[in-house]
């Protein structure tokens, strides 16, 4: 097994996990959204890494009949996923803004304290 | 009318009666008229059923089939018919009594009481005529639920606490023990339909039989086998007519009815006798008889004393049925009737005393027999029945049970019977003695309770005596039960 051949995946996994870590360890709601963004962007990197072929080019037809193209399908999937990501971020932010207005804070423990004190 | 229609009517009449009662809640006289009419027509239907020759040979009626192999079905057999007959007859008498009681004591929420009474009776009829365990379970639960508003009728703290206890014990035993037992039965045999001679034989090992028997014995909480008996005295917070219904007719009799039915129609006499599982039940029941009688001795509250007496008397039936000889089963069946008539008289008496004199304690009853001669006379007759002395029906059932015990060579049971008779006497005789021979202590001038109540309780006392003289109907039905040699 060629371990070196996987370095790309492993770094991407590290990036994913740092995003995931932010999501589950931080109490600030905007910071959590940043974490989600890093998490999902890294998953996109994972997908695109899978589609890459050494020596390939972007999957746009060229005149050279022997040209090797990278796999276009992951690209399509990730285009969709990026859209989903920005949509989620936007909805999350809208909720955060409303939470700030109704609670006066966006820190989870402070919000919990305010809810419990009722 | 076909027999099928009659069986369905037996359940539908009280159920529809409940609707009509609810609809006529604005006009009290109409409402109570409806109650009596419903009770009377139910009695007529059950009486008509008794005269059907083909009744016990018909295949069951399938009402619905929620799952393959699992139907809701109705069928009639001798025990169920007897139970239905007792319940419908006593409902009619209780209705007369209740109307008078409710009006004289200025109780509230009359409509709710009558509606729940009718629903409870519909459930009772369902239990009596259910053709398999699932149907039985369904009506058993609906009886529990429909009597809950009756128990908590007063709506004060005590009533709600008592009601919670009542509901908690009955629901948790039925869901926690009875339902698993039913599922086990279904799992082992693939059916839950009652069958003369049992359905379990050959499907389950000896150890399994004993565990299953215990699940059923304690799962049928309404049979009040110790230690699942506490709900009965707790439910004493109910108005007296309700207690009469609970403790003499519908609820507890449903319990022992289920017990007998499970013994004969699910396990089967042969199978239980072969593995000796019935002895455990006999022992449990014997213990309950003695222990409950001892507790009853110490109760000063009249209704509580009666309640513990009920616990003890119910175990007579369970014990007798569990001995599983033809004679003892006959005794058990006869005791269902005898105890019903006797105990309802006692409760009617207690209610009459409360209505006329506002007394609830035994120690306060000095000389009351002279003021309320009819009530206390009937009370005394019922006490005779409870103790087992002629000329009351209780004597016959004890006689049969005793004979059955001798036939099975079960001498400890004979001992228990003798001892309990002594105990019965020692907690019933003082009541009668106090009422008639102790000096009058009260200053309160009062006479008899209102006449409908007196009529009702005299009627049930008379029935107790009548059953002693003409015991044919219950005995005839008992003879048709599937016991070895019977």
């Amino acid at each position: 097994m060629n371990w070196v051949g996987h370095y790309n995946y492993w770094v991407v996994i590290f990036l994913m996990m740092s995003g995931f870590y932010v999501v589950i360890s931080r109490g600030n709601m905007i910071k959590k959204l940043l974490g989600l963004n890093i998490f999902s962007t890294s998953v996109f990197l994972l997908y695109i890494s899978m589609g890459k072929i050494h020596g390939g080019t972007a999957p746009i037809l060229t005149d050279n009949p022997n040209q090797v193209y990278s796999n276009p399908l992951p690209h399509v999937l990730i285009l969709t996923a990026i859209v989903v990501g920005v949509a989620t971020t936007a909805v999350g932010l809208a909720l955060v803004v409303r939470i700030q207005e109704r609670y006066g804070t966006i820190e989870e423990d402070e919000i919990r304290a305010k809810d419990d004190s009722l | 009318m076909s027999t099928y229609v009659l069986i369905e009517l037996a359940i539908l009449i009280p159920a529809c009666g409940a609707l009509f009662i609810a609809a006529s809640s604005r006009i009290p006289n109409l409402r109570e008229g409806v109650t009596i009419a419903t009770a009377a027509s139910l009695l007529a239907v059950v009486a008509a059923l008794y005269n059907r020759a083909d009744l016990f040979t018909l295949p069951p009626i399938v009402l619905a089939q929620p799952l393959r192999g699992l139907e809701l079905q109705l069928s009639a057999e001798p025990l169920g018919l007897l139970f239905a007959g007792i319940a419908s007859l006593l409902w009619l008498i209780t209705s007369v009594y209740t109307i008078s009681y409710m009006r004289s004591n200025n109780e509230s929420h009359h409509t709710r009481l009558y509606v729940c009474f009718a629903i409870a009776l519909a459930s009772t009829m369902g239990i009596a005529f259910s053709g398999n365990l699932i149907t039985l379970f369904l009506f058993y639960e609906s009886l529990t639920l429909s009597t809950y508003p009756l128990v908590t009728h007063k709506q004060d703290y005590d009533a709600i606490a008592g009601g919670r206890y009542y509901l908690g014990i009955l629901i948790s035993t039925s869901v926690g023990l009875l339902l698993p037992a039913i599922i086990w039965t279904w799992h082992a045999t693939g059916t839950t339909t009652f069958n003369a001679g049992g359905i379990l034989s050959g499907h389950i090992g000896n150890g399994g039989v004993i565990v299953l028997l215990l699940l059923y014995a304690f799962g049928i909480g309404k049979a009040a086998l110790m230690p699942i008996h506490r709900w009965l005295p707790e439910a004493m917070v109910a108005p007296t007519p309700v207690s009469a219904l609970l403790h003499a007719v519908a609820v507890v009799k449903a319990g022992v009815f289920c017990m007998v039915k499970v013994l004969l129609y699910v396990f089967g006499a042969d199978m239980l006798l072969d593995c000796g599982g019935n002895n455990i039940l006999v022992a449990l029941a014997a213990f309950t008889i003695i222990a409950a009688s001892l507790i009853a001795l110490k109760q000063d509250n009249l209704k509580r004393r009666l309640a513990y007496s009920t616990v003890s008397q119910l175990s007579y039936i369970t014990m007798a049925a569990a001995i599983l000889t033809p004679l003892s089963v006959k005794g058990a069946v006869f005791h269902i009737a005898a105890h019903a008539f006797g105990k309802i008289t006692l409760f009617f008496g207690a209610g009459a005393i409360y209505t006329a004199a506002h007394k609830t304690k035994v120690s306060e009853l000095g000389g009351i027999g002279r003021r309320m001669p009819w009530t206390m006379g009937a009370f005394a007759v019922a006490c005779l029945s409870m103790i087992g002395l002629p000329p009351a029906a209780g004597m016959l059932s004890k006689w049969f049970i005793m004979q059955g015990a001798f036939a099975a060579d079960n001498l400890p049971v004979v001992g228990v019977l003798l001892l309990s008779t002594l105990l019965n006497a020692s907690y019933f005789v003082p009541i009668v003695y106090t009422a008639f021979f102790k000096p009058d202590t009260t200053n309160h001038r009062h006479g008899e309770a209102p006449w409908p109540m007196v009529v009702a309780l005299c009627a049930t006392a008379l029935l107790t005596v009548a059953l002693f003289i003409w015991p044919q109907i219950p005995l005839n039905l008992a003879a048709q039960l599937p016991v070895k040699g019977g």
Partner: protein, 495 residues
């Protein structure tokens, strides 16, 4: 006829766009109603077709399956389709009155638009035969449900929606990772082709580490979505604070569809639930049992009845997963059957909550005092729904519980069967608290106008579900048949 499956998704999706276009609440509601009813009609037609002829396929864009996205409908999908579209068809007539009361006039059109998109998303997940397409429609339905929940009146609705958004997105991303790994192994995204490739290339039998990881991520991700204990944390708040209509709809459909996805991935792709025959079956068993016990107990101590029902939902999901993780024909059909029955009863119970909220303005236990008298029909519906939840015979809930217990006994798992019954007993307790308060506690002093029975527009859909609960308790042949066939199909494997 041939285009029916795609119409199922396209009608609500374009309906949502029409709602946005006109922005009038009445028009939006009419569109939503029409879309939901036509969806239900189409689902019935599809179910009839499936029963008579067999599986139904549809290639979108005319591209054959592994290259294009194709629908593949068999017994399982068509059953779930019936649940989702049926609930939507019942909810829409109910929605008008309830939404008028709970949502501001300005936002109503958006509410219907989001509801329709959510419906389209759930239907889209159910009909599709493509793993990535499932993810897209999952996000579509999730995104709209975050917003629907956030539209609740109380401020905790916002935090609930946010919490759901974070946990839901993590779940969806996990799913995305899992799908990616599967794609990497096989080079295809079509579910049936995936199963085929995994079998042909002997990936299943060879303890492939990537395959195991992919399924670990898919199962964890979906567990988040279907709120399997202890990943259920988002659910109680979300269901409690969402607008009534959103709660009714989501509670009876969203988690069901997530369970459906779990079934698809674990049984169709890994032909015959291979993974459940390993240790994983037992791994899922523990959270399922914990859900039944712990969530039911927590429910007993809730004073907000909507929250109580939400915890009960967590427990009921435990029942479904329990049935599935048994991985026997009986257990699987019990789990699938419970999807259906739980949708019926929870839909009904949350409708009751909506009606009580409409009249009283809140659904705390105290608010139920005396409701047995002032809202007799509503409370009678609650009693029926509650009985179904407890599993009393003659109600739909009994059927699935009975099958579950049978399935557990068949495997000889006595303690599990006992736990199921204990769960029912706990349900008795928490339902009884409400019933007792409603019928036996004296009414509180209220102003004259706030008391009274719920309006007919709320009562009719509610009683339709009451009748359904009773009907399917008495004659369960249709769902039992469908669930049984679906279970056989799943265990038979895809290849």
């Amino acid at each position: 006829m041939i285009h029916l499956p795609v119409a199922l998704v396209v009608i609500p999706l374009l309906g949502a766009a029409v709602c946005v276009l006109f922005r009038r609440s009445f028009i939006a509601w009419t569109v939503a109603l029409a879309a939901a009813w036509s969806g239900f009609a189409i689902s019935i037609l599809i179910a009839v077709y499936i029963m008579k002829i067999g599986t139904l396929s549809y290639s979108i864009g005319g591209w054959p399956p592994p290259w294009g996205i194709a629908y593949h409908i068999d017994y399982l999908n068509s059953f779930v389709l019936l649940i989702v579209s049926g609930i939507a068809a019942v909810v829409m007539p109910y929605a008008r009155t309830s939404v008028n009361y709970e949502i501001e006039e300005d936002s109503q059109a958006y509410f219907y638009c989001l509801l329709l998109i959510c419906l389209a998303g759930l239907l889209g997940i159910t009909v599709t035969g493509d793993a990535f397409n499932m993810y897209v429609f999952l996000e579509l339905s999730s995104l709209s449900s975050y917003a629907l929940i956030g539209m609740g009146k109380r401020r905790r609705a916002l935090t609930a929606a946010y919490q759901y958004l974070v946990m839901g997105t993590i779940g969806a991303t996990f799913l995305l990772i899992g799908i990616g790994l599967l794609y990497n192994l096989t080079g295809t995204l079509n579910i049936h082709d995936l199963a085929h490739q995994l079998a042909v290339n002997n990936i299943i039998g060879s303890h492939n580490r990537t395959l195991l990881t992919a399924f670990a991520f898919i199962i964890v991700g979906l567990s988040l979505k279907l709120a399997l204990f202890p990943l259920h944390l988002w659910l109680p708040n979300a269901y409690t604070y969402a607008p009534s209509v959103a709660t009714i709809f989501l509670a009876s459909t969203a988690t069901k569809v997530a369970v459906y996805m779990l079934l698809r991935f674990c049984f169709t792709i890994l032909s015959g639930g291979f993974i459940f025959k390993l240790t994983l079956g037992k791994i899922l068993l523990i959270p399922a049992l914990a859900a039944i016990l712990i969530a039911s107990m927590v429910a007993i101590f809730q004073y907000d009845i909507k929250r109580m029902l939400a915890y009960s939902s967590v427990a009921q999901i435990g029942y479904m997963i329990l049935g599935i993780s048994l991985a026997t024909p009986l257990g699987l059909s019990a789990g699938i059957l419970h999807l259906f029955n739980h949708a019926l009863m929870k839909g009904l119970l949350f409708m009751v909550m909506g009606a009580v909220n409409y009249r009283i303005g809140a659904v705390y236990l105290n608010d139920f005092r005396g409701l047995g008298r002032t809202m007799p029909w509503t409370m009678a519906a609650f009693v029926v729904g509650g009985m179904s939840l407890m599993g009393i015979p003659l109600t739909a809930g009994f059927i699935s519980k009975w099958y579950l217990v049978q399935a557990a006994l068949e495997k000889g798992w006595w303690p599990v069967a006992a736990l199921i019954l204990i769960g029912s007993l706990l349900a008795v307790i928490y339902i009884w608290r409400v019933v007792e308060t409603a019928y036996f506690n004296p009414a509180q002093e209220m102003e004259a106008e706030s008391s009274g029975e719920a309006p007919l527009s709320l009562l009719l859909p509610m009683w339709l579900l009451v009748l359904a609960n009773i009907y399917f308790g008495i004659d369960s042949s249709i769902p039992v048949e469908l669930a049984g066939r679906a279970a056989t199909l799943l265990l038979g494997g895809a290849s």
